[in-house]
Amino acid sequence: MSSDNIEKAYSKENRELCLSGKGVTKVFGFGNRKTLAVDNVDFEFYTGDLISIVGESGSGKTTLIKMLLGLTSVTDGKIFFMGKERDIRTRQKKKEYWKGIQAIFQDPFSSYNIFNKIDSVLLDCIHMRGGRRLKKKEKIEMMREACSFVNLKFDEMTNKYPFELSGGQMQRLMIARIFLLRPKILLADEPTSMIDACSRATILDMLLKLRDEIGMMIIFITHDMGLAYYVSDTVYIMEKGKFVEYGSADEVVLNPKAEYTKQLLNDVPKIHDPWEFSRNRREVTAPD
């Protein structure tokens, strides 16, 4: 895609509703032990957007993601995929749905089945895209292409077990997986939180490069406000299962309305201030 096309695709006029929800609710347990993980949430995500959902641990981000992926059932409310209410009641329909929506998980170390060689992860993707009948040579060519996209050498990766790779390599391989699957939506659940700082920027850059390459929407889950501001177009702030504020990244970060957003902004470590100082400031003033 040329840069013109990208701009055209992402411009407000051309936006197409891609994933939306009405009154989405998730309740765990029942009776006295009922916990409301996601509380009557509405959202509209458009094609090509890069959305961040920011909130602290336990605010319901991961539960929301799991519901969007169809890994957990939705207690109440409706989720619409490409304008139509999604239907994932049979395995075949689920498989069809997952061709359009994929995820990268937080912990690369637990994302792999330690008993399988990593080739099988990539092969599964090729098979899912209908490449089961391809010749072995073509499959290897596809895997090689995907690996080189994430700066990995396929020949070094093949026939290895997941525990032989570093965390950064594992997460890059996850991106290679997405490269092969080419979904419309990618849900990235804190993909960089378990990775060391040096690999973090590389991973993010690769995600953004991949987004430009295949034109997908990314929903980026994080608890780091700074990171959200750095990568995303739109930011949703989630507190206790509710979206307390949302808007473009600039709006939310530079002009936060909700008290919780201000708090989150204060918690971003500043490279110039000693940590104690920034903590004290949080109690005295909140930036307006």
């Binding site: 799991k66 992926l69 890994l71 395995r91 689920k94 498989k95 997952w98 061709k99 994929q102 995820a103 998980f105 937080q106 912990d107 637990s110 994302s111 792999y112 089945n113 330690i114 008993f115 399988n116 992860v121 599964d124 993707c125 899912m128």
Partner: protein, 428 residues
């Protein structure tokens, strides 16, 4: 996986248990080849024959002269005295000496002066004091007892004796009397005697070779343990996987039955089922199946709880997102993670299956007794025919030892595996 196997092979505990089991298996495989035959054949006319080599007395008397050798061995007489001068005779000698030893011109003896175990002293005193012509106020019967004793004591040193034996004459249809002279210095080579039998562990109450029976019993009991363990592990694994992975109402139903079985003591269930099958229908395999069907509960429970924590792991989610079917996810993404636990549980189930069979058979509810021996049945026979009261230790101690050894080594293997798969348990 390769790494794990290497660690398992380096684990001292596992290897100790494994080697013991392998040695037992070797015995089970080799012994029947060297000593074939039906283990339930009653070879002896007596019960509880003690361990040792037996050879035909008849054959040893009937040796051709060239097979008889003469030795003058030092200490042979001492050993002979030691063997022939029995405890009862020695006590009788002492009794006589204390009671009637005092006579005119001969000083009497007190009880402290005579040591029953000093055979030479007893013999010297006996020959010094005893005079068969004296009545000493005894009844005739009592004095005869001592005359016979004197003859026996003298017989120890008889240099030459005639032995009489008979042979069945087919033509005349009667016993022919044969006579042979056997001297103190006559020896025969044990290998020249036609009929010999080695009974390493003697015989039991029915006169059956305990060692042969034991080897066959180990084989049957191990088979029972394996079958029971396989059935229990298979049921437990299947129910645990389904309950843990599917969850919801399926989980509730399976757990309802599992909890039901948990509160009923296994042994009671086992006794009731075995009893209702009936003695004649209970083969070893039937018992094994019954044991397997009553001991899957703990495997099911622990597999279920492990699967429940595994099913929300990211790699399972990722496998779902890759469009894999449920059976494939269970087999490829969940089973390998619980496999190590299942192997350990299986080892324990085998050991507890062997113990359960022993327990059942002790109660008389084991496999039918006419078919094959099992470790439990051997214990049952020893108990029922009071081997412990007869002092026939060989009828039950080897069985107890083997049961203990098998379960010890299986538990050792289990602990070794546990330490490999849960590094937290490792010592030092």
């Amino acid at each position: 996986m390769k790494n794990h196997i290497r660690q398992v092979l380096r684990s001292g505990k596992f290897m100790t248990g494994f080697i013991i089991i392998m040695l037992i298996l070797l015995l089970v495989a080799v012994y029947p080849l060297l000593n074939p035959g039906n283990p339930l054949e009653m070879i002896g006319y007596n019960s509880f024959v003690k361990p040792g080599v037996y050879f035909s007395l008849y054959d040893s008397l009937d040796m051709e002269s060239r097979h008889v050798y003469r030795f003058r061995l030092e200490g042979a007489d001492e050993l002979r005295i030691y063997n022939k001068f029995g405890t009862e005779d020695r006590i009788a000698v002492k009794e006589w000496l204390v009671r009637y030893g005092e006579r005119e011109g001969v000083p009497g003896l007190t009880e402290e002066e005579i040591d029953v175990d000093d055979r030479y002293q007893l013999l010297d005193l006996w020959w010094e004091h005893y005079d068969p012509t004296l009545r000493l106020g005894m009844t005739i019967a009592a004095s005869r007892v001592y005359q016979r004793l004197d003859a026996r004591v003298a017989g120890i040193f008889n240099l030459e004796d005639y032995n009489v034996y008979t042979i069945w004459n087919e033509e005349l249809e009667e016993y022919e009397v044969h006579q042979t002279t056997v001297v103190n210095d006559d020896y025969v080579n044990v290998n020249d005697i036609a009929n010999r039998i080695w009974l390493p562990l003697g015989t039991e109450n029915f006169g059956r070779d305990v060692m042969k029976q034991l080897v066959h019993a180990i084989r049957t009991s191990l088979m029972i343990g394996l079958v029971a363990g396989t059935i229990a592990t298979a049921i437990g694994l299947l129910l645990g996987l389904v309950a843990g992975y599917v969850g919801g109402i399926v989980d509730d139903i399976i757990m309802f039955f599992t909890n039901l079985f948990t509160v009923i003591p296994g042994i009671v269930l086992l006794i009731l089922i075995s009893y209702s099958i009936g003695q004649e229908q209970r083969g070893a395999m039937t018992v094994a199946v019954v044991i397997g069907l009553t001991s899957w509960i703990w495997t099911a429970r622990s597999v279920r709880s492990q699967v429940m924590s595994l099913r929300s792991r990211d790699h399972v989610n990722l496998s779902k997102l890759s469009g894999h079917s449920m059976p494939r996810i269970v087999v490829r993404d969940i089973l390998p993670y619980v496999a190590s636990y299942v192997v350990m549980a299986f080892v324990l189930q085998v050991s507890s299956g062997i113990l359960a069979e022993a327990g059942l058979s002790m109660l008389g509810l084991g496999p039918k007794t006419t078919d094959v021996p099992t470790l439990g049945l051997m214990m049952n026979w020893a108990m029922r025919y009071t081997a412990h009261l007869m002092g026939a230790w060989w009828a039950y101690y080897p069985v107890v030892g083997v049961i203990a050894l098998i379960s010890f080594s299986l538990n050792l293997m289990n602990t070794g595996l546990d330490q490999v798969f849960n590094p937290q348990l490792r010592e030092g």
